[in-house]
Symmetry: C2
Subunit: 435 residues, 2 copies
């Protein structure tokens, strides 16, 4: 007999079907045993009134793998609107030990319980509630890819083991590479820029490694990044529009397709417009300082509280909880950024629900200017690690820009979680390297 998934059982009312899954719950109500079986599609209730069948489950725990044949009866009060009667139960894999966590109710995501959550991730994900987070994550990735395919971006796979050159910034992990030293890529920055010279439009979705010596709600030592780069842009607007369209499409589609899951996860209502409001860094400082009776106008970057506040502000005033912040001061730039005529950096940050999701700058594509900027940043343009990157410029790259886009952060904020690690299957930080 062919297996039927829990979600499809109702379509077989009156028929005999076979289901397979995990024992999820056992209950005795009024002398009748109710068993709930879990499979990848959901839950199905089984009514076991025959003693010999119930007897098979004696001493067996949640997680026991079962095959059950039975008669389908519609039952509006049961999950999925149907249940199986008169079951014939086969024990496929018995579980006799009591699992360390209970997965038949939502697991606690309180900050003080996160360590328990992550220590038991390999079992906790058996909770249908937990799975929803990662089904939404997969759906976001799928929508993002769809958008990029449609817009003629070529997927590239760049190396994660590097000879040492990095784009600066975060600390790097080092590894012994056959007697030499290699570093783990913090991002595909230099590679994706070089590939503009071939494909014009490229993207990569891959892990990136950052030896962040701190444990915060926004950082991990292994992150999942969407890196995009596009050539022949006319300026920052082209980059912002691409990132805006990608984000709008992915998030609204997922809110449509996964409405029930998002409701179960208590995700906030989505307040998004096709055009995200734009503010300069100076405007955010001014608005925030006025509203909060403080003075942040001397800050170079936004402070975390400003990121939260400006998204709330835009949601209230503009009906959109995603915003772009632009005109970052020169002091905040990286050596490969391009400066605007007014001395600020051609760079926009995408903030969504209070968190920076993506950094979207235009790159300096003039070889001689880039060399000067490297020197000003204290970097040696003669260093072997920059040889290929600088050659790509010297032999002609058009104006280009793109983004480093945090997938974990997008998942976190789409669902309304409060720690980026909750959006990650097996998070890594200074204190955590397992499971």
């Amino acid at each position: 007999m062919e297996r039927v998934l829990a979600r499809d059982v109702k379509q077989h009312a009156g028929q005999q079907v076979m289901v397979q899954g995990w024992l999820h719950k056992k209950r005795l109500i009024g002398g009748i045993n109710f068993i709930v079986l879990r499979d990848r599609s959901g839950l199905i209730q089984i009514v076991a009134d025959k003693d010999d069948q119930v007897e098979k489950l004696r001493g067996l725990q949640v997680g026991t793998v079962l095959t059950v044949e039975g008669q389908v009866k519609e039952e509006p009060r049961a999950p999925g609107g149907a249940e199986l009667h008169d079951p014939q139960i086969t024990i496929e894999v018995p579980v006799t030990d009591e699992p360390p966590i209970e997965i038949d109710k939502p697991l606690s995501h309180k900050p003080e319980n996160l360590d328990t959550l992550f220590d038991n991730r390999h079992l906790g994900l058996r909770s249908p509630q937990e799975q929803k987070v990662f089904k939404i994550r997969a759906a976001l990735l799928r929508q993002i890819r769809r958008f990029l395919y449609e817009n003629e971006f070529v997927e590239i796979n760049t190396p994660k083991l590097l000879a040492g050159a990095t784009e600066g910034g975060a600390e790097v992990f080092k590894t012994d590479y056959f007697g030499k030293e290699a570093t783990l890529a913090q991002s595909p920055q230099l590679y994706k820029q070089m590939m503009v010279g071939a494909f014009e439009r490229v993207f990569e979705i891959a892990p990136a490694f950052r030896a962040e010596p701190s444990a915060t709600t926004r950082h991990m030592s292994e992150v999942y990044m969407l890196d995009i780069e596009m050539g022949f842009i006319n300026g920052l607007d082209d980059v912002m529009e691409m990132v805006q369209d990608l984000t709008y499409n992915a998030v609204t589609e997922v809110y449509k397709d996964h409405a029930d899951d998002l409701k179960d996860l208590k995700a906030p209502e989505l307040v998004l417009k096709e055009q995200f409001p734009r503010y300069t860094v100076a405007e955010v400082h001014k608005l925030y300082s006025e509203a909060n009776d403080t003075d942040t106008t001397n800050e170079k970057d936004l402070i975390p509280d400003e990121e939260k506040w400006i998204c709330e502000h835009a949601k209230k005033e503009q009906g959109c909880e995603a915003v772009f912040v632009t005109n970052f001061p020169k002091e905040a730039m990286k050596f490969y950024h391009k400066l605007a005529d007014d001395g600020t950096v051609l760079w926009a940050d995408l903030l969504f629900r209070g968190l920076e999701i993506a950094t979207c700058p235009v790159r300096e594509n003039r070889h001689e200017v880039l060399v000067e900027q490297m020197k000003a940043a204290g970097l040696d343009p003669q260093s072997p690690g920059y040889k290929y990157f600088l050659e790509a410029m010297r032999f002609g790259l058009p104006m280009h820009g793109g983004c480093g886009y945090g997938i974990d952060r997008l998942v976190e904020k789409t669902i309304g979680l409060s720690n980026v690690k909750e959006a990650t299957l097996f998070p890594r930080d200074i204190n955590r390297l397992s499971p």
Copy 2:
């Protein structure tokens, strides 16, 4: 004026258009200057007969970034069937140095020239011919994902920094992790198996790291792997059918969609059937030994020449150059494989055009048998690295199996290249860590 891509110029016959791209070639024929411009879509020829326009290009090299406005004229002999006349040329980014390689003809892929090819990869990919390899790679990945989405596989992202547990086999890279030691994941093996307990069907496409101390045509120290795992299978057949359908679909679709590119790359004609022929290891030894007047019947695994021969044999005799080889002897097994009743391993290798592309075993899902197999393999089941993996079994996993599928190898063989590194943007091996 809006930019028009080279491939679309012909549609604007008689009109004024603007194109942007790289100077790809300059030729003077019969007193008239022909310029070829490259963009992401292809090449377009520009006829420059006015001295002032030609003068702008004096001293400028291939790679110079140009904007050109001109009149479109149909011209069957030109690439794309049209050319631009009476051009107005703007130099966007001048290139004055002569590039180290010529990209207007196919680059040499002869074994003795591969080092030059890889040393100049960042520039060599500007050759339209080279780009085709990686457009086909991206297309294969896209088709594979489509198949997996349609079959309800959930994309997972598992960590690449591990506490030390590995599935055994290849050497591992080690990194300092905040004063502790971490290893780089050789594969997501244990993680994908654990995730069967949640999602039943999962996949990941990600880099894997192998400290292979050798430089061969089939190995790299950083590879791109498709890892799939599916639960509630009835046996090895279910895994083989899934891998067969995925492969058949991806390769035939790409041969359809990229017929011209594959022809330009001199890819062999595709000889594939929906059902791949199946041979046991013993059968391959026997057939090969008889045909080649030798004796391999005492070999545990297939020797590389047998892998080549059996694919040729199946192509000739069965009309299919992809085959499965099954019934590997117990001596070749890994601790997490499942044994069949006859004492061979429930494991199939997918070979395509002479190379092992994927390994597709069923896993041992009985906790107590797995523990015994670990001990027999000299591994310590008490080791912290196996704690979570063994817990996943102890708390119930159904029969499951999947594959480790080499994306680089699939690309190599789909195109008919002869070294896996040619299918990789920036290959890594014992001798190569850059560009």
